[in-house]
């Protein structure tokens, strides 16, 4: 008899989501990753893989020349903000809990 462990299914889903996000970071236009990070934040608790994706986008594609007064972590900041905002939304909107 096959039994499905809900925790493992959720874990597998999260790993799959992370893999797709990573694929987007490398091969798809940047706005795909931006949207996916936000969606990930809504779906999963403490979606820090989104932050990793943001830092990776800054590291892979950003340069010192496009820094704003020395600050060049634009996607990292976006990811952190997205995680904070989605966390807030999840607490305020019942069906997202």
């Amino acid at each position: 008899m096959i039994t499905i462990d809900k925790k493992n299914t959720s874990y597998a889903r999260r790993v799959l989501f992370d893999a797709v996000l990573l694929f987007f970071v490398f091969f798809f236009p940047w706005w795909y990753s931006v949207v996916f990070i936000f969606i990930g934040g809504l779906i999963f608790q403490n979606f820090f893989e989104g932050l990793v994706a943001g830092v990776l986008m800054d590291a892979l594609y950003g340069t010192e020349a496009v820094a704003f007064y020395g600050f060049r972590l634009f996607f990292s900041s976006y990811s952190l903000l997205a995680i904070i905002i989605t966390d807030f939304l999840k607490r305020k909107i019942r069906f997202l809990e």
């Binding site: 490398f26 091969f27 798809f28 236009p29 940047w30 706005w31 403490n46 820090f48 932050l51 830092v55 990776l56 986008m57 800054d58 590291a59 892979l60 594609y61 950003g62 340069t63 010192e64 020349a65 496009v66 020395g70 600050f71 060049r72 972590l73 634009f74 996607f75 990292s76 900041s77 952190l80 995680i83 904070i84």
Partner: protein, 248 residues
């Protein structure tokens, strides 16, 4: 707690840019095989999908292309362009001119929001910082910003906020050309200057290299300056190869 750690890391990366540069270098070196595999897979998938295209679609495409060829032939009115291209391709095949290093593009501006381009040549191939990135010996795209052992990152002149000196139009008017992102530029010139669609803006440091072509003029206003929008003629979102200037 984790938020605190994230903010701490971001502060460290901002106040100690060398730390971030090390991380960036490591990420790029790790990512190069991934990008290369992606490029190979992409071309493989294109070949597989071509097998499934219907005959009708191919016939339709053929008709379209035949019409296009006839149109282009009429426009060319000669074969000078073909001859020139032939010479360039032969030069590339049998001994590329010493001035440039040929490189494959592994990541393009649509993937990167920063209008940067990543190529598969690095310090081991003698790529240097600030070397010009050109296409077809004619069009200037940008400069190399960061060099890693087996890859390099270049910033396009069209990146947002980038300002460069250029000569515009047949009268070579000196202008400041502003990058708008995605291969687009804007330039302001006095109202009495005659600039038309298709006029070229050449790079002031090397007037043989074309930076962009005038595409559109902003609607007439009462101001004493007129704004023109220019575009790099190279399709940056699909560019496969570029040439990088050899710097000694």
């Amino acid at each position: 707690m984790i938020f605190f750690i994230a903010v701490l890391f971001m502060a460290l990366f901002t106040f100690f840019p060398s730390l971030f540069n090390i991380f960036s270098s490591f990420s790029n070196q790790t990512a190069v095989p991934v990008w290369n595999a992606g490029e190979t897979a992409n071309s493989g998938f294109s070949n597989i999908f071509s097998l499934f295209r219907s005959k009708q679609a191919l016939v339709k495409k053929n008709t379209e292309l035949t019409a296009k060829v006839a149109d282009l032939e009429a426009k060319l009115g000669g074969y000078d362009f073909v001859i020139q291209e032939n010479i360039e391709m032969k030069a590339r095949q049998f001994g590329y001119p010493e001035k440039y290093i040929h490189a494959k593009v592994i990541s393009r501006p649509n993937v990167s929001a920063y209008d940067t381009i990543l190529i598969d040549r690095g310090s081991t191939d003698n790529i240097k910082k600030d070397a010009k990135i050109v296409s077809g010996n004619t069009y200037l795209l940008g400069v190399i910003e960061e060099v890693y052992p087996h890859s390099s990152k270049g910033r396009l002149f069209s990146s947002f906020g980038s300002v460069n000196n250029a000569f515009l139009g047949p009268e070579n008017i000196p202008v400041e050309i502003h990058g708008m992102g995605g291969g687009f530029f804007s330039v302001e010139v006095p109202k009495d200057v005659d600039i038309r669609d298709g006029d070229a803006a050449v790079f002031s440091d090397d007037p043989e290299l074309i930076l962009a072509i005038v595409k559109k003029k902003e609607k007439d206003s009462m101001e004493s300056f007129q704004t023109f929008y220019l575009q790099n003629p190279i399709a940056l979102f699909t560019v496969k190869y570029v040439d990088v200037e050899k710097v000694n």
